[in-house]
């Protein structure tokens, strides 16, 4: 059994969590061309080493971030998303051509 420490719920079996992908700041959808958007959505660093990634504690739907070594599977630290996000992110689409 491997433990992951949820910043909200404490150490739990890693089976209680869902992996949520690499952490990358999202480019502004309104100023991104389709090629850059594809790069953001589909392509990954897939680093062999220490990475920052999203995790979700399934039972509480709590999303947080973890620094993990993808070679040794060692978790260096976990922290709340509020360390990186301190204000509401809106996804408002720019008005314009909807075709």
């Amino acid at each position: 059994m491997k433990l992951l420490t949820c910043p909200l719920n404490g150490p739990r079996n890693i089976s209680e969590f869902t992996y949520g992908g690499e952490y990358h700041p999202m480019p502004d959808p309104n100023k991104t061309d389709p090629r850059q958007w594809a790069e953001h959505v589909f392509f990954h660093d897939n680093e062999a080493g220490i990475v920052t990634e999203w995790w979700c504690h399934s039972a509480s739907s709590f999303w947080f971030l973890a620094e993990r070594n993808t070679i040794t599977d060692q978790v260096i630290r976990t922290f709340e998303a509020s360390e990186l996000f301190n204000q509401r992110v809106d996804f408002a689409a720019e008005s314009g051509d909807n075709s």
Binding site: M1, F43, H44, D45, N46
Partner: protein, 413 residues
């Protein structure tokens, strides 16, 4: 018999010749450098040498021949995919497999056992019907079968209607098969080396030199090698190697675990797979039951085995084959899978000139080995992308033209 053995022992054929050339110094220059001596890398080298007359080829392997994911997959061969692009590609691969022992004059132990995929829901039956129609249209033997047929195909399958997920129907794929995975890599390496290809084991590519958008050399732990073209065939390390050439890929590496029981007398002929309970089981010609399932839940470059996965694989296998409760587990292992967003491979040109990609082989690499060798060799020799692999180019992700095989792949292998 003892006389036959004695005669062989004294004959000129004994001891048997090595399958490949012993280690030599690296040359200064090769026409083609292939990174990775697994099934794919050696198949590409074999086809370059035999069918295109290109023999100034080095296959560089950081470990040993066929020691990576070639040795770790569960040796399933099938072509009952969902998209026309996928079915056509794997269909050709199965055809080549059927003739591979003759091609090599070397036994790869091909066994046409057939594959049965189980449906435990109406939704699965609908998708199986869809797959069967596409498969038949493309000339692949694939049909939807009812419970009675399933019971005849696999008499020891748990057909109880009281189980948690009762079996409702199946997708029967008579073309499904298995082969000795090591022998496939050995056969290709042997044939390539006989024709002048050099296999360099314990030779790790540390850097890739790109000049004005074109690959010119690779730096290894044994020195620098100039080359006119490079093919990377390093399943499980594709992102890491591509990064050395400055290429970013749409891949995440996940471990995929499997386990095997002690040998038992032959009682299970086809390969049986259930995407719903996440397990597949087949019995090898040696009698062991091979049990595999879905990938690990998060990315990792490590091939450790976990208790969690053993528990879930065992639970699922017992759901299908209760008699396995008495079976003893011999070993459990993992390979590293390059998972792509659409569960299809990435083959062909890359953003770097003369640098070719053979990547994104997720859980479907072994079954594609022969066709991959043929098409990638043709690409390297002619610099023209063969039509059959055109849909799998890296560029498809930028064009939003993915080849979705997620439904025909997950836990089916």
């Amino acid at each position: 018999m003892p006389f036959g053995l004695l005669k062989y022992g004294l004959s000129r054929d004994y001891p048997a010749k090595h399958h490949f050339t012993p280690a030599t110094e690296l040359k200064k220059h090769y026409d083609v450098v292939i990174i990775g001596a697994g099934g794919h890398g050696t198949a590409i080298a074999y086809n370059l040498a035999k069918y295109h007359g290109i023999t100034n080829v080095a296959v560089l392997e950081k470990s040993y021949l066929g020691g990576g994911n070639t040795a770790r997959n569960t040796a399933v061969i099938r072509s009952n995919y969902l998209t026309e692009e996928g079915v056509e590609f794997y269909r050709e691969s199965v055809k080549l497999y059927n003739n591979l022992s003759n091609e090599f004059n070397y036994n790869v132990m091909m066994e046409n056992r057939g594959q049965l995929t189980l449906a435990h829901s109406d939704a699965a039956i609908r998708s199986f019907r869809w797959r069967a129609e596409v498969n038949q249209h493309m000339g692949v033997r694939s049909e939807l079968v009812d419970r009675q047929t399933i019971a005849e195909l696999v008499p020891n399958l748990n057909m109880s209607e009281d189980s948690r997920f009762p079996i409702m129907a199946g997708l029967w794929h008579a073309d499904g098969a298995t082969a000795r995975h090591d022998a496939v890599a050995w056969g290709y390496a042997k044939g390539a080396c006989e024709r002048g290809v050099e296999l360099h084991q314990l030779t790790e590519v540390e850097d890739i030199e790109v000049t004005q958008g074109r690959v010119t050399a690779v730096k290894t732990n044994r020195g620098r090698v100039e080359c006119a073209a490079v093919v990377q065939a390093v399943a499980g390390a594709s992102s890491v190697v591509a990064k050395k050439a400055g290429i970013r890929l749409p891949i995440h590496c996940y471990p995929l675990q499997a386990m095997v029981t002690q040998p038992y007398k032959p009682i299970l002929t086809p390969h049986v797979s259930s995407p719903h309970v996440h397990v597949y089981v087949h019995q090898t010609s040696r009698g062991e039951f091979v049990i595999g399932g879905g990938s690990d839940p998060y990315p990792l470059y490590h091939t450790r085995a976990t208790l969690d996965q053993r528990e879930s694989l065992s639970a699922a296998a017992l759901e299908l084959f209760p008699f396995l409760s008495q079976a003893r587990m011999l070993r459990q292992w993992a390979g590293t899978t390059d998972m792509t967003p659409d569960y299809s491979p990435i083959m062909g040109l890359s953003p770097v000139e003369n640098y070719y990609l053979d990547a994104g082989w997720g859980t479907w690499g072994f079954k594609a080995t022969p066709i991959c060798g043929v098409t990638m060799a043709e690409l390297v020799a002619t610099k023209k992308v063969p039509d059959i692999i055109k849909p799998f180019e890296l560029e498809r992700f930028y064009n939003y033209e993915q080849i979705n095989e997620a439904g025909a792949t997950a836990a089916s292998h």
